[in-house]
């Protein structure tokens, strides 16, 4: 009889430990922090959260509109890469500046920052008219400009729509910069964005196009 009791107790303890371990594994979560540029309009910013909730398992979402910090957690057994996260931010129409992931196992992953070396004697500054509306547009325009290897700096004025761009004239042209703007959704006087790219911009970024396009 004692043996039977012992066996039952042991089985229950085994099951209890097993369940606890399994729960612990299930509840282990990675912490994600994305610095998102241009989070000014709450109506669209809440859409970022909505977009991430499409990834089943996202929890603990926090958005700091002032700093642009976007935090969430995700199950550790389905890890997202930096690229996965930034692609999801892009899909929601936003601009990820940098991303860091604190894995449940203690490792930390961060997006790399590119350092450019440009010939200062070849730098020129030009002004380009770039269509856009809001802070989110500004973030997207700046990121697109900075992604070009030969661009040293960009500054887009939301009121005048003028993009001041400093670039290495031996390596790129105004034409290429305009093409890049159009590629990410922003018309210029000489380059037009594809309709599907324009349509995918968040509502607040869908500026009035010339010629009723």
């Amino acid at each position: 009889m004692k043996n039977i009791k012992f066996m039952m107790l042991a089985t229950l303890m085994f099951l209890f430990i097993g369940t606890t371990e399994s729960t612990a594994q299930k509840t282990e979560r990675d912490n994600y922090t994305v610095m998102v540029d241009g989070l000014g309009c709450p109506f669209c910013a809440y859409g970022l959260e909505k977009k991430f909730k499409e990834l089943k398992g996202v929890k603990g979402v926090k958005i700091d509109m002032e700093t642009g910090q976007f935090d969430f957690t995700f199950p550790a057994d389905r890890p997202l890469s930096i690229e996965d996260v930034e692609n999801q931010v892009d899909a929601a129409g936003y601009t990820a500046v940098r991303t860091s992931i604190n894995r449940a196992d203690g490792t930390v992953v961060k997006s790399e920052e590119k350092i450019k070396t440009l010939d200062e004697s070849a730098l020129v500054t030009e002004e380009i008219y770039v269509f856009g509306n809001c802070g989110m547009c500004k973030a997207r325009i700046h990121k697109a400009g900075n992604e070009l290897e030969a661009v040293a700096s960009v500054n887009w004025d939301m009121d005048t729509k003028m993009l001041s761009v400093t670039y290495d004239s031996s390596k790129t042209t105004v034409s290429e910069i305009e093409e890049k703007m159009a590629e990410v959704g922003h018309d210029t006087k000489n380059e037009k964005t594809a309709s599907d790219v324009y349509e995918a911009l968040p509502g607040c970024c869908q500026y009035e196009r010339e010629n009723n396009e």
């Binding site: 000014g40 309009c41 709450p42 109506f43 809440y46 859409g47 959260e49 909505k50 909730k53 958005i63 509109m65 509306n133 809001c134 509502g203 607040c204 869908q206």
Partner: protein, 286 residues
Amino acid sequence: MSTKLFRDVVNTKEKIMNRLTYLTTTLLLSIILFGCGETGPNWQFEKSIDIKGIAPIGFDIEDNHFWISDGDNNRLLKTTMDGEIVIEEKDFERPMHLAIDGSNVFIPSYGSDAIIKYNNGKIDTVNVKEDLDAPAGVDVVGNEMAIADFYNHRILYTNGTNWMKVGEKGNGDLEFHYPTDVQLSGDKIYIADAYNNRIQIIDKAGKHVKNIGKDQKMNAATGIYVDGAHIYITDFEHDRVLLFNEEGDLLSEIKEGLEKPTDILVHEEQLYVINYKSQSIAVFNK
């Protein structure tokens, strides 16, 4: 009658006619230059109520208190008219432009795609006969309800029995581009057609009535209020409120004390505007 007397009579008559012509011309010119003289209420900034820690999206007034949806912090709040919190209800999912009807507070829950009815601590989900995608505004009058269905670019309306859905994505009549707020008034539905940067008015049968404000170059028409004779709209990015008459004429622009305004209302001869960025409520007197 002597010749002199005759001349005097003629001269006097000419003078009177000239004076009348002058007055008539002046009156006509005034009408042409200044319309009918309608300027609407002359709102003067009185004060700003500090609501730091609250990121307000929508609000209403009931029993001398504000009900405020705190979008960033997922809260429904009741405050005094000085901004002191007296009720805090957490666990809402991005509450937006709310409405009060009787003792019920109706809250569009952008994050959970639902309309929530709150009454003295009791929370119910309103049965809506269509799938919502990020509802951003609601208005309720008796059995009637109108909803601004943000990501579906449409307006839903029920008279308490039947549901009507109007709109799709676009910038034409009966098309919307992310509607954020809605108000029922008389036989019409007034819509803040946010990223079409205009007010759109439809009737309760779903017919287009009028578009207003497109020429004002707004940037995100976020909150709307109608008092019967006037239509108020918040222009989020330009830190201002525009006031129109029913014909769509711009009557005035209000800028003082506004910083990223999201909602507006008139209550007991005062105008209230909530500021998302400065976390405050601007109060105006006539």
